[in-house]
Symmetry: C2
């Protein structure tokens, strides 16, 4: 049995752990060759394959892989067209699969990547191929359907909560009125911004407001809440999702007229929500404001990974392999939570249609009444996902990474 695995879409801290999980489970299942595709399906189309058996030949390399951010194999944002309009691309893919005698194809990615798995599996069935196609979800956005949570979310949430906690300490030191706006990734779902709520505890007052795209937002009510809060507290810290929306459906940052076009999937590129809001507060209240965009480090900070997330991300990769070995295709491995306290989460497999191209948002019941905080239910849901640390391997003062040259 030969298998191939690829990574696609935006990186997370845990996507290489899923790669490690796929690799180890494939070897355990008796795979001869485990190929890795460089730059996802885009590189596969150019036959840019590596042999992971050689690259991940010892346990130390696998452990280092789990501690390496982004995609070890590289990524792509290449969306397959429908087979009806671009069949030659599908033919090419199946030719390469045949040439390398590949039995199972694993694709680690977000919902756009699950769409690739869906299309390839459907085409395979149509042409009578026995190759199995299985998706391994990942995204810091936690916005995939069916799965209890996504691999990669726990580490990103741990990073966000830690940084918010440190920023709260930083902002509280001055005896002055000030507003700090922290912008967190999340286009249509506020899952990652919600993680700011985890910062609150015995030793931290937490953020003063947490604003998600799911909750109604108007500039007027935003200003009113800040004004009220500034009467009782000096330094406000506000966590805001990049995708916070106005009642008319526009993104708040569109008020500043500085969006940067669309990506190849037609998603609007958002920027400047925090900058816009900080500037608006400075003008309205005449006080010091600061905009902080957590930006790429949210998805790349493997120096602060959640051990739970890394271990689960390995397991979901292994679950994908086990499904393929059982003969399943056109499916994705997912998490099924049995219990919050004590936390218990199993892996499962679902039809890829249930996950591809769909988005899961934060339930409104988990957002408090005035749309500025999360409920205990969210905290109970998210807290187990950030538990434990995977300490980096440090060399000469910096975390070491495994790099494919």
């Amino acid at each position: 049995m030969n298998v191939v695995v690829g990574q696609s879409g935006g990186p997370t801290v845990a996507i290489n752990a899923s790669l490690a999980g796929v690799y180890q489970a494939a070897i355990k299942a008796g795979a001869d060759k485990v190929y890795g595709m460089r730059n996802g399906i885009f590189g596969f189309l150019q036959e840019r394959l590596v042999v992971l058996n050689e690259l991940l030949c010892d346990e130390e390399k696998i452990e280092l892989l789990k501690r390496t951010p982004a995609c070890y194999l590289g990524s792509c944002r290449y969306k397959l067209k429908a087979a009806e309009v671009a069949e030659e691309e599908y033919q090419k893919i199946f030719e390469i699969l045949k040439k390398y005698e590949i039995d199972c194809f694993f694709y680690i990615g977000g919902n756009d990547s699950m769409d690739t798995v869906d299309k390839l599996s459907a085409y395979g069935k149509k042409i009578g191929s026995s190759i199995r196609f299985v998706g391994v979800p990942k995204t810091i956005d936690n916005d995939l359907m069916v799965t209890d949570h996504t691999p990669g979310y726990g580490s990103a949430a741990k990073f966000v909560a830690t940084v918010i906690k440190e920023l709260v300490r930083d902002t509280e030191i001055y005896d002055l009125k000030a507003v700090t706006i922290v912008e967190i990734m999340g286009r249509n779902s506020g899952w990652l911004t919600a993680a700011a709520a985890l910062a609150k505890g015995e030793d931290c007052n937490g953020a003063d407001m947490i604003l998600l795209p799911e909750a109604p937002f108007t500039m007027e009510s935003f200003f009113e809440k800040i004004e009220a809060r500034l009467k009782v507290k000096n330094n406000l810290i506000i966590a805001v999702s990049e995708g916070v929306k106005l009642p008319d459906g526009r993104y708040v940052c569109e008020l500043a007229d500085n969006t940067q076009g669309e990506d190849v999937f037609g998603h609007k590129q958002l920027t400047g929500t925090a900058l816009f809001l900080a500037d608006a507060c400075a003008k309205r209240f005449g006080i010091k404001t600061r905009a902080i965009e957590l930006s790429t480090p949210q998805r790349a900070s493997s120096h602060l990974a959640s051990l739970t997330d890394i271990e689960e991300s390995c397991r979901v990769g292994a679950a994908a392999v086990e499904a393929a070995v059982r003969g399943e295709s056109g499916v994705a491995a997912v998490f099924v939570r049995a219990c919050n306290k004590p936390y218990c989460c199993e892996t499962g497999v679902v039809d890829i249609h249930e996950i591809a191209n769909l988005e899961k948002t934060v339930p409104l019941a988990w957002i408090n009444e005035d749309g500025t905080d999360l409920t205990e239910e969210y905290l109970d849901y998210a807290r187990p996902l950030i538990q434990g640390e995977l300490t980096p391997y440090f060399a000469d003062g910096l975390p070491k990474h495994l790099v494919l040259k």
Copy 2:
């Protein structure tokens, strides 16, 4: 003997380690009461004092203090006027010092804070007071004179180098032309931006350019270098100091006309250097660009502190106490490096005039010829400062902090 200690200016990850060092050394030297001033000299003027003997009563609290970012006692940006024009303020300070029977006054801060120590010590001498005033330097900027490096720089440098390393992994995953501009703190000195050079190693290509305020910069040569580099490499990552300057002395970000006024010390508030340059590159080259501002986490990320920095910051606090006990006043504790390999660094004491209100910039000899990288000499200088980790105390998935309520 009673002593008082305060913290002032912008926070670092190590400023509480210096507080711990002052406290422990004062107790060791037989101090009865160790007072802490809330919000620096500003709070002292309002007699807002706490008794550290009560707050730091056990070893665990002191260890937690060393792992807490920002200023445990709070900070201020309050600059004393000259005694000639505001003598009543000095009289008030000395009245409070007398009331609490304080023998030694320690002030942890940057060069503006050293100015406070200078003024109080001079006034004390003038009125025949025997109270000793000793400064404990701190700043992530590493821009203080005389001292080999500043407490706080090592941890900030470790953070910057780690994040750059992670961002290099993140940016390299796509097979597309792109430019990422990472903005790092440093108004007039490029020390912290220089730390990006530490990222380069066996497992990391490092940044493609590192731009400091000390090196000449023009938009034309910036574009030329990017154009040349894009011919041989896909994803460029450029570390840029917020204070990068044009030949006419203006900050680059002033080209975007978006500076935010001045702070109370008359320093220009800078913002948007990376945004401006990323936007300029997008327009010039028609490729994807991204601006990342490392912002406040550079000075607040105690979850990634340098153990060397934390230990040295304790020691420099202790050295200040020892100097005061010897009867010295109007001095600051500093680091004196004996050797790079093996690294060996002692503490010393210098006249506060040699450090207050002065800035140390990166030697031009440590910047390469085309002004885009650092030399081996810088690496040899900086590498020892980022060694070792002070692992946070984690509780329920997040680092714990010691908080004064």
